[in-house]
């Protein structure tokens, strides 16, 4: 492996480790003769995924759509609340306790309320994924905006800078790394919210598919659903990481940034 760079070698190593996890799973199931009703082997799961894919696809699209809409709404609302809280002391003192209280509520508990208001289906799923991803975004945006060095603020105010100048030139760029960190958390949470709601009150989506599959004892299909969710989560996480590298790369490891 001498011809590979240090980084490439590291990536190869972690890829091999991940692969060996699945191999171990496969082998363990075979050696201990684990029933497919309990824990199907990865190959069986992939087989089920392949076999049922035409049926799964609309559910997959439904879940992806619901999650992305909920996520987008959550980010929009989260950024606005975070920005207000980050720049205004009064807003901070008022909204923070409310938000902490709200985010402590288990989201399973709000799904029935949404169903009551909007009926079963897509709307409660969107709303659940939205509310679940608001909090981390608010906290991170507010923190990012509030951390300007006092000396820099003095330098700018002495120049006659308005609040908006400081926000635009200093606070917003500085908040970007925090914002992206929260996006990566929020997108995975958004999936949790969607699937939760789909499981409880919907006739479409991966959550619903898994419910039905488990009541039919089609355990490989249940796991196929899990694999898909994990795959989607990872894919979106990677997408946001790539955007993050472009927009807020300065906050990452400096050597990488210098080369990129």
């Amino acid at each position: 492996m001498e011809f590979l760079s240090e980084r490439a070698r590291q990536k190869l190593k972690s890829a091999l480790l991940i692969l060996s996890f699945f191999v171990l799973w496969e082998v363990a199931c075979l050696v201990f003769k684990v029933s497919e009703i309990v824990l199907p082997r990865p190959t069986v799961i992939l087989g089920a995924l392949w076999q049922f894919f035409p049926g799964i696809r609309p559910h997959l699209i439904q879940t992806l759509y619901t999650t992305l809409v909920g996520f987008a709404l959550g980010v929009g609302i989260g950024v606005v609340i975070g920005a207000v809280i980050g720049v205004s002391r009064v807003a901070y003192d008022t909204a923070y306790p409310l938000l902490v209280g709200f985010s402590s509520i288990p989201k399973v508990a709000v799904v029935p309320i949404f169903v009551l208001w909007f009926g079963a289906g897509t709307t409660p799923a969107i709303l659940t994924s939205m509310v679940i991803c608001i909090f981390p975004i608010v906290v991170n945006v507010a923190t990012g905006l509030a951390t300007t060095e006092p000396e820099l603020e003095d330098v700018l105010k002495a120049l006659g800078a308005k609040k908006l100048d400081i926000l635009w030139n200093v606070s917003l760029p500085r908040a970007m790394p925090y914002f992206f960190a929260s996006l990566k958390v929020a997108i995975t949470l958004a999936f949790v919210g969607t699937v939760l709601s789909e499981t409880v009150a919907s006739n479409r989506g991966i959550g619903n598919l898994m419910m039905i599959a488990s009541s039919n004892f089609n355990v490989p299909l249940v796991f196929a659903g899990l694999f898909l969710l994990a795959g989607l989560g990872v894919a979106l996480y990677v997408i946001f990481s790539l955007i993050e590298r472009r927009v807020a790369g300065w906050a990452m490891r400096k050597q990488d940034f210098a080369m990129g």
């Binding site: 003095d154 330098v155 105010k157 002495a158 120049l159 030139n169 807020a248």
Partner: protein, 285 residues
């Protein structure tokens, strides 16, 4: 840089002010008390201080005596609890005077190249602000490069702050404070964190910049050699609550050299200042 039009000048000074060339900066009984009630801290006793245009004043004194507070008053970052602060003949804040500020912490923005960091004031201060989009790749860029060359950072404009040493960042910090050609330069212990050699190099650069551009400078420092090398006037402050206990002119010819700082008159001056500060700390003054 100053937008003042002499013919429409409205004197805001009280009639008792002496008739002479109006100082650029004038503190009249200006005092500051931070906090209120039981937490009130008197940082600056009512103080009078006049600074002429083009002067280079060093403020020295024990730590916590209100040196930074005076800078903040002049920059209109805080309001005087008592008395008045006049800049350009009018109450501070009434008129936009170009101000450049630099602290010990260079606070370069990590996501901008050094060149863009030092061009930041041009994005904010008029008349540069309205021309920024049009000129940032041409005239303003050249302006930044020229200034970088003066402080010995030629060719570093493309670098990011983390690629520069502390001394280089402080040079860039000086550039950022001067890029908009301010009438008033406020420096709060700018070289405090640097090693002796870098510091002395920067003294020479700052002296040169001041001689070329003649801004009015207030330099807060705890290094008495630095004060005597750079300033035309050294003001010594007492321990908190601060007041000015001595105000010495520094007569040495310009440009001053490092060798001069070892000559007897220079050493005598710094010794005298040291004595004053020691007395101020122990409360003898």
């Amino acid at each position: 840089m100053m937008a003042a039009k002499p013919d429409t000048f409205v004197p805001a000074l009280p009639p008792s002010a002496p008739e002479r060339a109006r100082p650029l900066i004038s503190l009249e009984g200006a005092g500051i008390t931070y906090g209120r009630g039981a937490n009130a801290v008197e940082a600056l006793t009512p103080t009078d201080l006049d600074i002429d245009k083009g002067d280079f004043v060093a403020l020295v004194g024990p730590s916590g005596c209100g040196k930074s507070t005076i800078l903040k008053l002049v920059a209109n970052l805080i309001r005087a609890s008592r008395g008045h602060v006049f800049v350009g003949g009018r109450e501070v804040g009434a008129e936009r005077v170009g101000i450049g500020m630099a602290f010990q912490n260079p606070t370069m923005l990590p996501w901008l190249r050094i060149r863009d960091n030092i061009m930041l004031p041009l994005k904010i201060v008029e008349p540069f602000r309205s021309e920024f989009r049009a000129k940032r790749k041409t005239e303003f860029r050249d302006r930044a490069e020229a200034l970088l060359e003066v402080v010995g950072l030629k060719g570093f404009g493309d670098k990011y702050p983390w690629q520069l040493s502390g001394g280089m960042l402080q040079r860039a910090n000086l550039c950022r404070a001067l890029i908009h050609d301010p009438a008033l330069l406020l420096l709060d212990e700018p070289f405090g964190a640097l090693d002796q050699f870098t510091r002395e190099e920067l003294w020479a650069i700052l002296q040169q910049l001041w001689m070329d551009r003649k801004p009015t400078v207030i330099l807060v420092t705890h290094d008495l050699r630095e004060a005597a090398y750079l300033a035309t006037r050294v003001c010594v402050m007492s321990a908190r609550p601060g007041r000015i206990v001595a105000d010495d002119a520094v007569p040495f010819a310009r440009p001053r050299t490092l060798d001069m700082t070892f000559e007897p008159e220079f050493v005598a001056l710094t010794q005298r200042l040291r004595g004053l500060i020691v007395d101020a700390r122990t409360g003898k003054v």
